[in-house]
Amino acid sequence: MTPPETAFDLPLWAKDLISSGERFYDLIHNHEDRRLTVALCLPRVEFSAGFIGLGILKNALEQVLQSNEPQLRELLGSMVSYQDPKGRVVVGILELRENEKTYSILEPINVSKSLKPGAVTQRRTLLKPREYGKVTALPMNFNPNRQIRSRQIEKVISHNQSILELSRILDCELTHLQSRPLGVLFNVFGNLSRIRSEWSQSLSKDKNVILGEVLRPADEKDCEDSHRCRFFPVHSEIAENDSCIEIIEGSRALPDQLSSTRSLNRIILLARNAPCYKDCVASLRESYSLCKGDATGFNIENSKPIISLAFFHK
């Protein structure tokens, strides 16, 4: 007998980093006329940009979902996906029964060998009004009968698993990401090869929980048209008119980066094991000395090793 599968969960430090991303997103939207700096002092920098990015993505998505009424009508007749309350993913064509004013999803015909020759089954799932928001459009080229290679299947399964697992952990329907383009939310300046490797490995041993599947960096092959963030080498210059959130891993280039991001919202990640840690803290304190007020309520609650400093610099 196989042991029962335990639900994967993130450790406290990762959850705290996700919350930091969420709070950062909320703060900059509540203070649109100001610019926020949050510095996080961490024992190690690995994975931090990814989890913070996840928090930013979550709140950005929730804001989009709140502001848009479910426009199911626009999806009528097209392939959609929906996760029912039992967790089953339903894929099919969205229908409307005009006289009953109810929406349902008609799944593709299933030919079963166990039935009599010629017999088919087809399932229709009725949608409750409160679940309309959970329906997402599948890409235009979705074809249930298309022959796909096993590698592609693995990729699709991995992608779906990552979305579903992270949706559960974040308590947020990340499946909506497929139908609602959010654009580029943040830029990451850091050690690219390391970040790529972190974002492509599964966080769980049993399931695929891959940050890159959700965060979709621009330089990934399949993410060119649907990316949500961009990577830059640590010494890159930052465009001063960039509207994204800048996530910067502390390096010797930090003094220049702080100076060129004076008009941007930024998160600075400082690893306490980095050789340049002292210099980074000194440059940050210099910026703090010119700050235009502390940003209150940004304390990290659960994880002692993460220390924050949040202030408005404009």
Binding site: R272, K278, V281, S303
Partner: protein, 512 residues
């Protein structure tokens, strides 16, 4: 690093911040007296602005105190080692006859120091080691991995011997501090020395980003002071220290640490004010290092260099291995391997070993490069660029021409047009075939050299007696008819500076 490893690192940090660092102060009265005399001696030498030999003795006594107070090694062994293997005997011998004719304050403290050393030489077990053994778990350790941090590789063997009899000693490991920045973790870590020393040596990462759930700091009571700031965002927030043996505040320990007096300070080299024609004008970030022979160099911050690892079997320091390490992790007392004529880059040396007639090829390279330099000096870089273009060069620009003139570059990419034009300019067209042949051979040899380098270095150096590095600060290593390599001992590490790109790896004289 995997996600699990990262989680373990956060758990370690959490445990240390919750429970605090365990500190232990041990009494070592003989050493405390020695330290008192050492301070008086140093003050008197400094006050009297005395001869260099007295300053050397100051540094030697400082080393004796530092090694005894900040390592768990046997005092009797350690003093013997410092006198015989680290040049202490020679330093003291020079002063033997001069001591009668110096200022009484110097004479008195000097005599006290010699007597102190004699007293300490009769002690076999360091009180720090006694404390370590008391703190080790008794009996079966349930796979508890213990890491002991010792900077000086020469002391590893002695310390390994002294912990050999503890249970599960194979689970214990001696490591350098820099090994704990990224690579390794254990269940318990033992650090030696006063807390202030970790700030002074920029090693706060051992405590701020701990590589184990339990960290012990053991030091001598007479110098045990200082605290370590947690993040540096707020100067009042320190890494918690548990237990009753908290560090006490003491009067300015820094002023007497002459060995480390330039830590974080600026190292000044003698540099020519005349820039060379191949200098591109671009600057890089580099760390200055002072070596043991009053010379030094700049190494690029994000580069790697070859280091020589030492063991001390049978009392003679010998090369155990060669390893490429990040410049950011180089520390005082590390041994680095360089070519005498500049460059942490060893590839040209090995390439010359592989390539037959490399000397003639390099000489021919110098002929056309020197002729080009003369043209630039005579007519200016812009005029040379115009003339090269006139002769058919396709990639002649000021930056490229400077690069072609640089003795370290092998040649231009486009030999058909650019080399032909250059040789027309300097009147060496007749040599075209042999120069092209030479450049191509050098390129091939440089490519193979990279792969062969580590094997050859290891073969040449493994087991070599390295005593002269520790006594003279430098040691040339020759192998057959191959070019010389030099091992330098790092004495000081400076702060990051911006320097002209071409200066990286050049051996420079210190400006006293």
């Amino acid at each position: 690093m995997t996600f699990e490893e990262c989680t373990v690192a956060y758990n370690d940090a959490n445990a240390v911040l919750t429970k605090g660092i365990q500190t232990r102060r041990v009494d070592f009265p003989e050493l405390a007296d020695f330290n008192f005399a050492r301070r008086r001696f140093m003050s008197a030498v400094k006050r009297g602005a005395m001869h260099e030999d007295w300053e050397k003795a100051s540094v030697f006594f400082c080393t004796v105190h530092a090694k005894l107070a900040r390592t768990p090694c046997s005092p009797s062994w350690l003093i013997n080692h410092l006198l015989n293997d680290r040049g202490g005997q020679q330093t003291l011998k020079k002063l033997q006859h001069r001591v009668c004719s110096v200022d009484p304050s110097v004479r008195e403290s000097y005599k006290e120091l010699l007597e102190g050393m004699k007293r300490i030489s009769s002690i076999d077990t360091n009180p720090i080691l006694t404390e370590v053994l008391a703190l080790l778990p008794k009996g079966f350790r349930n796979n508890c991995k213990i890491l002991f941090v010792l900077r000086d590789l020469m002391l590893w063997e002695e310390f390994r011997n002294s912990i050999r009899h503890i249970p599960d000693s194979d689970l214990s490991e001696i490591v350098k501090p820099s090994y704990l920045r990224e690579r390794q973790r254990g269940d318990r870590i033992f650090l030696f020395g006063p807390p202030w020393m970790f700030s002074l040596r920029n090693e706060e990462y051992l405590l701020r980003s701990p590589a184990a759930r339990k960290i012990f700091i053991i030091g001598c009571a007479h110098e045990f002071s200082g605290e370590i700031r947690l993040s540096g965002f707020d100067d009042s927030v320190m890494i918690p220290i548990s237990g009753t043996q908290k560090p006490t505040s003491e009067d300015d320990p820094y002023s007497f640490e002459t060995l480390l007096s330039n830590q974080g300070g600026r190292l000044v080299f003698k540099r020519s004010s005349v820039s060379r024609v191949w200098e591109s004008g671009s600057v890089i970030e580099a760390v200055p290092f002072k070596f043991g022979n009053k010379r030094g160099t700049y190494l690029r911050t994000d580069s790697k260099v070859w280091t020589v690892l030492v063991n001390n079997v049978g009392g003679i320091p010998r090369c155990a291995a060669v390893e490429k390490v990040d410049v950011k992790d180089l520390e005082p007392e590390d041994l680095i391997l360089m070519t005498t004529h500049g460059g942490g880059d060893m590839i040209p040396v090995v390439a010359d070993m592989i390539l037959p007639h490399s000397k003639q090829i390099r000489e021919l390279q110098s002929v056309w490069k020197n002729a080009l330099i003369r043209e630039i000096e005579r007519h200016g870089i812009d005029e040379v660029v115009v003339r090269l273009a006139h002769y058919g060069a396709t990639k002649a620009s000021a930056a490229n021409v400077r690069n072609w003139a640089n003795p370290r570059s092998l040649g231009m990419e486009n030999l058909d047009s650019d080399l032909v034009a250059l040789l027309k300019l300097i009147g060496l067209e007749s040599q075209y075939t042999s120069i092209v042949d030479g450049i191509q051979k050098l390129r091939g040899a440089h490519q193979s050299a990279g792969a062969q380098l580590q094997r050859r270095l290891r073969e040449n150096l493994e087991g070599q007696d390295l005593r002269s590095v520790f006594t003279h600060g430098v040691m040339e290593v020759k192998h057959g008819n191959g070019p010389a390599k030099t091992i330098f001992i790092i004495e000081e590490r400076g702060v990051v500076e911006e320097i002209p790109e071409e200066l990286e790896g050049e051996l420079l004289e210190m400006d006293e």
